[in-house]
Amino acid sequence: MKFLAALRNILLSVALTSTASLALADTYEAKLPDEINTAPELCKYAPCAEVLPGATSFSERKGQPRYVEGYAEEAGKKKLIGYVMLSTDITDTPAYSGKPVITLIGMDTGGRFVGVKILKHSEPILLLGIPESALTRFNQQYLGQFVGNNIEIGQSRPEENIIGLDAISGATVTVIAQNQVMMTSGTAVARQVGILKPTIREQAKFRETGAKPDWAALVQEGAVRRLIVKPEQVGLERGGEPFIELWFGYLNHPDLGRAILGEGAWRNLMARLHEGEHALFVIRSGGKESFKGSGFVRGGIYDRVQVRQGADSFTFRDLDAVNLYGIEAAGAPAYSESSIFIIRSKAFSGAYPWKFVFLGNRVDRATGARSFANFDVEYWLPDQYLEGGRPEVVKPDAPWVRVWKTRAVEIALFAALLVAVATVYAFREKLTRRATRKNKWPVNAFKYSAWVISIGFVGFGMLAQPSITQVLTWFHALLFHWQWELFLSDPFIFLFWIFIIVTVFVWGRGLFCGWLCPFGSLSELLYKVGGAVGLKRFQFQLPRRWHDRLKWVKYGVFFGLLAVSFFSMGLAEKLAEVEPFKTTFLVGLFNRSWPYTLFAAGLLGLSIFTERPFCKYLCPLGASLAMPSTFRWFGLKRKQECDSCKACAVGCGSQAIDEDGRIDHRECLHCLDCMVLYTDDHACPPLAQERKRRTKAGLPLTPIGPDGYYIPIKLVPVRADAAAKN
């Protein structure tokens, strides 16, 4: 009975673990209430209490960007214990899918993250393979971290004061985007509520020239700038008129202030400003939307415009706005709304670049749902208006640039590998001529080296296994939100795809599939090792008629995935588990539930006995690359005699040579065995026949020409003078 109970428990746990991983991810494309993006009471629609433990009540959305305050009850009184922010209120940073990971973030009054909850994501990689809990675990690394710390993905670097977070293998781009979301959101709110002190910047020292430029000159030199938002950028019908067209500029500089406002108005304005205060004007010359909005009427805050300098944001209250009565500069456009805004902070400096931001909402025309969107234009006082010119500003590297810099050595090695393999293949004829049917090492030394490096360094090391899911993701990113930065965030996959696209057009898919695909290399290496350790007698090829039928399966898989992805990207991603790449390289054979492990291990096990079964019959990526390979520029060579000779076809591991001796370049994996035979005068029957004939006739064996035949011996008539000498 005990045995039966134990058996039952084991079966139950196996069933639970396997179905758990098959279960749908909780927040993948979760349906969120529309109000979550716009309602003042954010916490009525979002689980704020989960990210701010101890909070029993919450304020309405406040500030710019928006956040809510969380309170606990203490002795019958409300006590502020922290802040909750919805990431999409602050930043629309997209993740790998091209859509943002919508995150609810809790921060205490000391500026420490106390809770993070993913509300919705569209990341395909987190559907299957990498469980969603991995992202949850990643987010937990923020708990207790101070928002002002330098937090980056990767190893900690105490000497540079950088705290490293463990990435999620195989989802690097997602976590880089998530880190940006966490830090941008946290910092924005922390600065607003005073947790982070604003950066104190050196104030500008103006150079006065006495010039009075007109509007056109001001625009040309960048002292006045324009911000246009088109209707389609906010999800409205495309139209001739902009959604809003604004002009703005800095007024503290005497030359500019006088030119724009006129002497009297500028002097009056300056007289109202205290030290460290700055004025800028804004006019609306197009569109019907108000840049003032109605927020300043309700809460005293202008919620549609903002100035950002570095990580500091400057918002305007009703007391920060002054009427603009007219523009003096000749040639200024007609305008229907205007204002002068005053920045009251020493953190702002006219000497450094800043951004004027219009805060809007984007409406999804299909669902009517609104989401946060901002539009900004950079402003930097022109050189000639500053004593000593513009100060030097070191802008922080973009996240993808940091990835390329921190992994520069590995990237260089990987690029060198790709170039080396392409170069070796370009000179393949030199190698195949040195090789013979009995000694293929001149070719195989390079090919086997490429396999080993591909498996160890590229596959297990860099996790750079190209996959059909990347093709589907690009397709969808192209449709919705293409961002080069996202794809550049994974430099290995980025470089690999450049290599694949170029080589498929030049030589066909065989160079990638046959030489550098980590899984393909592993598969064929197992076959070779199997043969070398005595399993050759068990190794087999499928009969030609079955091969010719089954090779179409992979095209079916590819078209099936493509078709499904049009309807549901999520389902397509799940079905893409037909590729065992995630299990083998990204997650690990022993880190997944048994159905996946069994599938990947089964394919690898089968590879010991038959060459590349997955590549030949199932691989959707191979199928997608095989199709353009139909039009590769340079194929492998054949002779007329190949139509009846079977020497190459018999030895073709990928079974790409048909009964007429033709090579199917969609199936060919560029093992080059047929090219070795092509110039081997002991193995290629027409060549061997000619060799024997010449030897018997005492004729010299001339070199083998590019056409694969001995260079013909042409009899030249003996010249008369030479004959006379003899």
Partner: protein, 144 residues
């Protein structure tokens, strides 16, 4: 006798022998864009009639797309439908593809898979170019 240096038998489109490079490029461009031939039309009347209807429908879809009224599924669906139709038309009208370098003059008879690959790839390039152009000009807004 089979020619094993080519994946299928050689073909000889009407313009293959022209000595003018400009004429060759123009003829090939026309070939890429226009799947029909007079000879093929005679043989495939029923298919062509259905094709004309499909062509009109596809045109309507592009007009709708240009007006910003198109959804992803419809765009892709029509692209796919048109491509399938074009494969059938070409197999009857222009059943050849180029072999080797694109700047060369080796043409060969297309089997069904060759034609699927050719039409799929060509239409992907044309579709992507049109799509990116329309989207970047603001004529097309895709709704998820």
């Amino acid at each position: 006798m089979v020619n094993p240096t080519m994946p299928t038998d050689p073909a000889n489109p009407p313009y293959a022998q022209t000595t003018s490079l400009v004429r060759l490029v123009a003829a090939e461009a026309w070939d890429h864009l226009w799947p029909w031939s007079h000879h093929g039309f005679q043989r495939q009347r029923a298919l062509q009639a259905a094709g004309m209807a499909l062509a009109l429908a596809a045109t309507l879809v592009w007009v709708l797309a240009a007006m910003g009224q198109m959804q992803v599924g419809a765009v892709i669906g029509w692209w796919f439908g048109w491509s399938v139709f074009e494969v059938f038309v070409r197999l009857g009208s222009k059943p050849y593809v180029k072999d080797g370098p694109w700047w060369g003059r080796r043409y060969r008879v297309a089997n069904a898979m060759d034609m699927v690959c050719y039409v799929g790839f060509k239409n992907l390039l044309i579709g992507a170019t049109l799509f990116i152009a329309l989207k970047s000009l603001g004529f097309l807004i895709i709704q998820g």
